[in-house]
Amino acid sequence: MTESVLRLENIDKFYGPVGLGVHAVRDVSMEVEEGDIIALLGSSGCGKTSTLRMIAGFEETSRGKIHLAGREVQKLPPVRRHVAMAFEGYSLYPTVNVRDNIAFALKAARLPAAEVAAKVQEVAEMLEITDILDRSPNSLSGGQQQRASLARALIRDADLYLLDEPMGQLEPQLRTLLRGRIKFFIKERGMTAILVTHDQTEANALADKIAVMEEGVLQQYATPAEIKDRPANLFTGTFVGEPPMNVFPVTAAASGGRLSIALADGVVLDYAESDFAAEVRDRILTRGDVMIGVRPYAVHRSETGPTATIQANQWLGDQSHIAASFAGQTVVLVEHHRADVAIGEPISIRVDAHDLHVFDAETGMAISHGPELA
């Protein structure tokens, strides 16, 4: 039975007076279980870093409670929270070399020198920075400083590891390599970590659960698979997934055992009523005007069906991204082979009922995913 290491209870962050200032984090509640890696995912200014800094204690929590390892900590200074943090701006101590930066906390805790040296060596090897250990932080590239900063956090003993954009400055090849190593390092030691990122590949690869944030609101907190298969709302649906989900405003109507979904420009997708559960049908039909979302890999070319005109066709080496004008906008298809279509060529489009995500047009909340209710 795992217990929660961190529990956020309705936390708010205002920059400025409570209730008047900039409302950066709005009523966020979430729980993090021991040994889990959590990704806070969102675009710039979505409140993810503010949330992280409230957990660390660098920002005051305007409202709500933070429970960390069984203690209520929102009023405690950082020194008493027992967390480790890697900073987006690296923030290495400029006066000492990389080795001493990494070993700083261990030395302060009076660990035997041999043990400190061994630990530094281990984490430096993991992050490929053994060659820069004796250099001063100011002489390093951004990527090197970032890894040194990450090493300084990971080497420590803490209840929770907070990693703010830990790999933002790394080159893509190194990033992929280190992602795996860091995950292994954290998992092997049973560490609990929260990483802030705007890179969904990083979130998907590293995290057990992803917390998607936008405008200070926690949009969805679920496993990567669940976020992909069952996005809670239009924002999560379109934010997570590459290329993004295709979204169309539609009007649904039923007649003669068929459910027809009318897009713009007279384009209609036609389904059997039995493709959807009765409640789903009812919900869609009572709303009438809804939004549908379809992942690019779920849009198929077929023999029959509404027509689209190819606008672009890009072969990326392992998949084709095809853009086509469809129902007054652009639809994107992904095919896992080299697609043989030319610009201007007409194609027929098929979307299966079980790939349809239906959202409320007004609130953006999910109504159904495929045949089932959201």
Binding site: A56, A84, F87, L92, R152
Partner: protein, 285 residues
């Protein structure tokens, strides 16, 4: 690099020489005067050829001034000591008070912080004469007139705003997350201040301390009004050379030379810090 011709270099050299001559001449002349007697100093036209004498320095150091009207006790050396003590103690107090305050103003945003910082700066706007009269009366009433303690307190008007504003900019230049990294590693804010912020701001603190020392050393008016003879610094003490039998130019000059030596030595020693400290961005993020 732009191309400079020989002519340009020559012209530049001449111009620089003129500027140096212009600014250094008074100091050069003072040094010459300090080795002359009043007679050679006052002869017309003046000449740079004379028989050098060290009598002026001897008079200052022994404390006996021989004039045509008789001998006079002067306490120049004690004035020098007063200057040294008042300036050092004022800067020490200013650093002890000003550096933590600068840190608070730089790091913590609290209600009214800007107003308080500005008020402290505004002490520098007011002409000293404006506050001297009420200050003198207060000091006499509470017994602080003519005490080192009282003088050091008043000198804070000069040194505190200077230290506060220079050092504050320094603390603001240190990325807050460097301190946060230290705090999250299990250190209190006070030990973070001591172990991270202070060392990183050290060039700025040194520069501010040095400037404050020079300003305190050169102060005249506060000490003139608030201190009696035995507590006066050299700036005021030099007035003693204006005697009944005339102005003792030789001794004045020797006094000036002796009194600029400590600040000159300090400035030369700390030149590196001063330049580093006053040019921003010495801390790389």
């Amino acid at each position: 690099m732009e191309h400079t011709s020989t002519l340009e270099k020559a012209l530049r050299g001449v111009a620089i020489t003129c500027v140096i001559l212009f600014f250094m001449f008074p100091i050069f002349w003072i040094v010459l005067m300090s080795f002359q007697t009043n007679e050679t100093i006052l002869r017309v036209p003046p000449s740079i050829i004379f028989d050098p004498t060290i009598q002026n320095y001897v008079a200052l150091i022994t404390g006996r001034l021989e004039t045509s009207a008789g001998s006079l006790e002067i306490n120049f050396m004690s004035n020098l000591w007063n200057s040294l003590f008042l300036s050092s103690a004022s800067v020490a107090v200013g650093l002890i008070l000003g550096v933590p305050a600068a840190y608070a103003f730089g790091r913590l945003k609290f209600r009214g912080s800007e107003d308080i910082a500005f008020t402290l700066l505004s002490f520098r706007f007011a002409p000293p004469l404006l506050v001297l009269l009420p200050l003198t009366i207060y000091f006499q009433q509470i017994g602080l007139a003519d005490t080192y303690f009282g003088l050091i307190w008043v000198y804070q008007l000069i040194v505190l705003p200077l230290i506060l504003w220079i050092v504050r900019g320094y603390f603001e230049d240190i990325p807050a997350d460097i301190e946060n990294a230290y705090r999250v590693a299990g250190h209190s804010w006070f030990s973070t201040f001591r172990k991270v912020a202070l060392p990183l701001a050290m060039p700025g603190i040194a520069a501010a301390g040095l400037l404050a020392f020079i300003f305190a050393w050169n102060n005249f008016i506060f000490a003139l009004v608030l201190a009696s003879a035995d507590k006066q610094p050299v700036t005021v003490g030099a007035l003693a050379f204006v005697t009944a039998s005339g102005i003792q130019y030789g001794q004045v000059a020797a006094g000036v030379v002796l009194s600029i030596l400590p600040t000159l030595a300090l400035a030369l020693y700390a030149q590196r810090y001063l330049v580093e400290g006053l040019s921003l961005g010495a801390v790389k993020g």
